[in-house]
Amino acid sequence: MRRAAILICLMMFSGLVANRTLAVLQTHATTASLITTTSPQVRLPGTIYVSQQGSIYAISGSTVRRLTLPQGGDWTQPRVLPDDSLLVIRRFDEYSDLYHVSASGHVISRLTSDSQASTNRTLQLDHWILWPAIGPDGTSVYFATDSPKPAPSQSYEVDFSLWSAPLGTAFTIGDNGVSGATRWSVPDLFTGGDIQPVPLPDGSVLYSSYANTGKGTVVTRLGLQTTPNSPMRSLTTLHQDCGAPAVAANGVTVAMVCTNSGQTADLEVATLAGNALGPLRVVAANCLCNSPSWSSSGDSLLYMNASDPNGNFGLWYIANAGGAHPGAPRRVTDSSVDLDATSAAAWSSR
């Protein structure tokens, strides 16, 4: 009797084992690790700011710390000012704002208030502000915003255009433009518009400009403007589909991401000579890469890349990317870390 009971228990246990074995074989969608729970694979000089799951993290050597920013929204796209404070975007579901914060995350000032819908309940009056960039003299900010746009119910049009404003004072984004700011570009409508401005030392601005090819596709090219509202000069072709420009400290070495109208991308580097771009050199081929940024010394390149089996986007690094013999791409963060690939890393020398 006792033996029978033991046998029955063993039988039931074998069923349970079969069931759980299958459960173990299941391919679980892995949850990305927080960057603070991992160690950088490559120790780079200075401080690198990245965004993950709505927070900003600072990587200094082998340590990683989270900036103590206010709760709510997703903090993204940090940029380092000359005094080591930061400009950061705080993005909510239907609008975003630009903040000036200290290196520890203390809010120094809020530069925009883009939630108009909270008072009049017309959500189309809300605005996006994204891709802040600091002017060459450190006293102005360049950015992309979806203003101006038609009044609600007049049109579906909503596209980014480029603006610049003095740093230090708040500015207001309305439906007819940005008060206290200078408009730089007029976008190709219904394409997404002009984004990712990079102010150059000579006062011109390099950026990604989306264009309707007239053949059923929308692609991007690098555009260059010497003054606000001057004609845009295309530095790359429509077929190359190049965007996300980053300019090294020398003001002439440009990194960009080009898809060549395919489903993967190449990270490419070229030299800007006057109003033209020299030959493009591929420094990372056939990748799911995005958001390049240069070291403050101007010789090393950081970018986001998905390369591990889980498809996590990590921070990658190429030494001497602008030189004749660039180093091999190396992953900086652990493979379990999944960073915000649409937020370029900001690299401070300190």
């Binding site: 079969a18 391919t27 239907e94 596209d159 929308v218 799911l288 995005n290 890349n305 089996p309 690939a341």
Partner: protein, 333 residues
């Protein structure tokens, strides 16, 4: 002699007892396995292997002749259907997405042709209308019948998925990595999946470039259309892009994943393929190289805009469409 007989009897008893014990273990293991696959079995019974029914006796569907295609490595044609399945529609679904797909397992080649939802065609019911209404009037069978008759193709299988099902499956697979073509913005995006008023709007923005998309973000990417130079055509291209990204995910899916995927789909999935055929399709999809995928979208001059029956529609240029379709899909008998 008596002793030998007793020994034989004991031996027989032992064999019998051993058989019972082995059978008990087998039953227990099979029960454990069946319980594991129970969600998939429920979905298989409810949503897969759908019986083809005719509409009022007027439409006679061809028998699904290619039912062995997946096992025989023969090419087959699959009609993918996608519907806004939120509470606005109360079960009466249009198909916002129709992608005619040709899969050749032997050569690992896939062709995807997006059929514009506003294409003005003769429906299976006899009248004219937008092709997205075929599913509304007669379910998958009417959609198949309409596509077969108008595009002159033969369809072996269909698969239908609702919005919530797409979001859940993408989340279950851990999202997808996509290079978003351009900033996708929409100030009038339907806020119909959050449980509130299904007629509300929300603002959405999908940033450009390579990124990891959750199910919700991927849905926004494939569904937004208002601020787009190519409207529904651009949306079709993005839908194909997500399918290609999903292909990379299927490489890591095993048979043990079928129950959780089935649970996540819930009632948002229907197909006339068997569950065995669906699971057989996964490794095929995962093995297709990126360069072996042909994408077709019926832009002008294949279609032209028109105002018909009090609504905006796309008029087909059959003299251009049918030869193009015949390049990739077998012509209906």
């Amino acid at each position: 002699m008596r002793c030998r007989r007793a020994s034989l009897k004991t031996g027989r008893q032992r064999v019998t007892r051993g058989s019972f014990v082995a059978a008990g273990f087998l039953v227990s293991i099979v029960t454990g396995v069946l319980l594991y696959f129970l969600p998939a079995i429920q979905v298989a019974l409810r949503d897969t292997g759908q019986v083809n029914t005719s509409l009022g006796g007027t439409v006679q569907l061809k028998p699904v002749s290619a039912s062995e295609n997946l096992s025989s490595n023969s090419p087959f044609t699959l009609l993918l259907l996608g519907s806004d399945s939120d509470s606005k529609f109360n079960g009466d679904f249009l198909t916002q997405s129709m992608i005619l797909t040709r899969v050749d397992p032997a050569t690992r080649h896939v062709t995807m042709l997006s059929i514009p939802r506003d294409l003005w065609v003769r429906l299976c019911t006899g009248g004219n209308g937008k092709i997205d209404q075929a599913f509304l009037h007669g379910g998958a069978q009417c959609a198949i019948q309409t596509v077969e008759r108008d595009l002159k193709v033969h369809i072996d299988y269909y698969a239908w998925i609702g919005l919530q099902g797409l979001v859940s499956v993408l989340n279950e697979l851990g999202g997808v990595n996509v290079i978003a073509n351009n900033p996708v913005m929409d100030d009038y995006y339907p806020a119909d999946l959050s449980g509130g008023n299904p007629y509300d709007y929300q603002r959405i923005l999908v940033l450009p470039g390579a990124q990891h998309m959750s199910g919700t973000l991927a849905l926004e990417y494939v569904r937004a259309r208002h601020d787009d130079a190519y409207g529904d055509f651009a949306r079709s291209q993005r839908q194909q892009q997500i399918l290609i990204a999903l292909r990379a995910k299927t490489k890591h899916v095993s048979i043990a994943d079928i129950p959780s995927l089935a649970t996540s789909l819930g009632s948002n999935f229907q197909t006339d393929m068997s569950i065995g055929q669906v699971s057989g399709l996964l490794p095929v999809a995962g093995s297709v190289p990126l360069g072996s995928i042909t994408q077709v979208v019926l832009l002008p001059p294949y279609t032209s805009t028109a105002y018909v029956g009090g609504q905006d529609a796309l008029m087909p240029n059959w003299s251009l469409i049918r030869p193009e379709v015949a390049k990739y899909f077998p012509v209906a008998a």
